[in-house]
């Protein structure tokens, strides 16, 4: 590769246009998927199967992770709080961190690694082996039959998984804080309840995870649907799903956090 200015500019231009092309493709794809969503609701059985593979199969990793994250938060939080003699605020710190941020974000990241990558691989493989083409030739729209149920399953699963993550985390913090360290049980819960607002903290957390579900779900089906139909192409697409989903979740989280919580305190 020669590094003369012209070829550098050319490759820069190519990088920009190819990304824009892909973004445009993704937008048109998203539009096409949204148009067939209504049809899928009429056949809920299709979504049930995907809820099983995406949601149920992610349960254990999400709950165990939530438990451990909550425990670690309790240990670290206690360490800092005791310097100021306000260890009973441990519940507040742990609950707010989990409900506002860690629940939605970490469960979305885990979901991207556990479920979305599998969805991409499955769809990519269906494409590589002409299953999607065969379906299309049988006058069955693959967008409605294969893509939309997997997309919807992500949107339904993630808020539930995020809630389970947060709940498990609070329980983990309770085990460490109250049972092992010996913070007062009443203070732990009452301080938490006084500071965690259902509308501002919990509803916003759920909204976040719904947005993450849309993003992660769309990325996984998009990467699968447009995977290069070879073994290498499918594996590349799977990796891209995890990388793109993770970045999208973190970026969206920043935007949403600013929109939801800025100027609140």
């Amino acid at each position: 590769m020669k590094a003369d200015p012209i070829s550098l500019l050319t490759s820069l231009g190519h990088a920009v246009t190819s990304r824009l092309d892909r973004l445009g493709l993704a937008a048109r794809f998203a539009f096409a998927v949204f148009r067939v969503l209504g049809v899928v609701f009429l056949r809920f059985g299709l979504i049930i199967r995907e809820l099983y593979f995406s949601g149920v199969r992610s349960l254990s990793i999400v709950i165990v992770s939530g438990l451990f994250v909550g425990m670690v938060l309790a240990v670290q939080g206690y360490e800092v709080l005791q310097r100021y003699g306000s260890t009973e605020a441990l519940g507040v710190i742990v609950a707010l961190s989990l409900v506002r941020e860690l629940g939605p974000v970490v469960s979305a990241l885990l979901f991207a690694g556990r479920a979305s990558s599998a969805v991409t691989a499955e769809i990519g493989l269906m494409r590589a082996t002409d299953q999607l083409a065969a379906m299309d030739m049988m006058a069955v729209d693959p967008l409605a039959r294969v893509i939309a149920p997997r997309f919807l399953a992500a949107i339904f699963s993630l808020p539930l998984l995020a809630a389970l993550f947060s709940a498990a985390g609070v329980c983990g913090a309770w085990i460490i804080g109250v049972k092992l360290i010996g913070i007062d049980d009443g203070a732990f819960w009452s301080q938490m309840q006084a500071s965690v607002d259902v509308r501002i903290d919990i509803v916003n957390g759920v909204l976040k995870s719904i947005v993450f579900g849309v993003a992660v779900g769309l990325i996984s089906v998009f990467e699968g649907f447009f995977a290069v139909p070879t073994a290498e192409g499918v594996s590349t697409a799977t990796t891209r799903t995890v990388v793109t989903s993770s970045l999208a979740v973190l970026l969206l989280d920043l935007v949403l956090t600013v929109m939801m919580f800025r100027g609140l305190n």
Partner: protein, 267 residues
């Protein structure tokens, strides 16, 4: 009256992937009830032709009539209505890997009809019996041999009794016995169900036994359109190279390159 016999009419079609022209001003007519084999070098546009007929690809120029409907101009619902009368066998079967053999064959019934479960069971078993695999109904596609998978896919393709069957390289990768079985099934189904079949293939022997007409594509056009007997006795160098499997001839062995000696000495 003879017009009505033309079930597929392709008129002056041009198709290109970017810069690369695949089909160029190609015209072809297929009559009802025929078995037509499409042959030609790999990458010569045979599979593209099936894509155009099925409406999965759109030509840049020209018209594709299937049952008097111009396929590229059809709306999605009209196209899907047309596809219910078209069956397609994909190169490696394209069975749904997450469904059993039975469910694969039942798929078109479940998606396209309101038949009762009993009715579907009966029909599926009949279709599987026709390809000799009723006993394999409970197996998953991963448990089938290549030839069996192809037969299941064939049963699935004809579930809705299509009037047109498209076969994309149905013999590729099969042992001689399976090739014979598939060939005979194609012929029998075509006669029994009154279908029109279009077969894209490289297998000349099986094709000559099976087809009513052999269309050879070259350079994006119809090179010749002959009866199997005429292919056998043809003296055309291109057809002979094809029929006899000669490595070099009108289709060159070497990819276009610089002078060999010059290339070796270049460094």
């Amino acid at each position: 009256m003879s017009e009505r016999q033309d079930i597929i009419r392709i008129e002056n079609v041009r198709f290109a992937y970017g810069e690369r022209t695949i089909l160029d001003d190609l015209s072809l007519t297929i009559r009802r009830g025929e078995i037509v084999a499409i042959m030609g070098a790999s990458g010569g546009g045979k599979t593209t032709l099936l894509g155009l007929i099925g409406g999965r690809l759109t030509p840049s120029v020209g018209r594709v009539f299937v049952e008097d409907q111009n396929v590229p101009t059809l709306s999605k619902s009209a196209l899907y209505a047309l596809r219910r009368r078209i069956g397609m066998l994909f190169q490696f079967g394209a069975l749904f890997t997450d469904l059993s053999v039975f469910e694969n064959v039942a798929f078109p019934y479940r998606e396209q009809t309101d038949l009762s479960e009993d009715m579907i069971r009966t029909l599926v078993l009949m279709k599987l019996e026709a390809v000799g695999l009723r006993g394999a109904a409970h197996l998953m596609p991963s448990e089938l041999s290549g030839g069996m998978a192809r037969r299941v896919a064939l049963a699935r393709a004809v579930t809705l009794d299509p009037s047109i069957m498209l076969y994309d390289e149905p013999f590729t990768g099969l042992d001689p016995i399976s090739v014979g079985i598939i060939g005979r099934l194609i012929k029998r189904l075509n006669a029994a169900l009154g279908m029109t079949s279009i077969i894209v293939t490289h297998d000349l022997n099986e094709t000559l036994r099976l087809a009513d007409r052999v269309v050879v594509l070259s350079a994006g056009k119809v090179y010749c359109d002959l009866a199997p007997d005429d292919i056998r006795v043809s003296t055309d160098p291109f057809i002979r190279q094809f029929a006899d499997g000669l490595p070099d001839g009108p289709v060159p062995f070497h990819y276009p390159a610089r002078d060999y000696v010059g290339d070796l000495l270049a460094s």
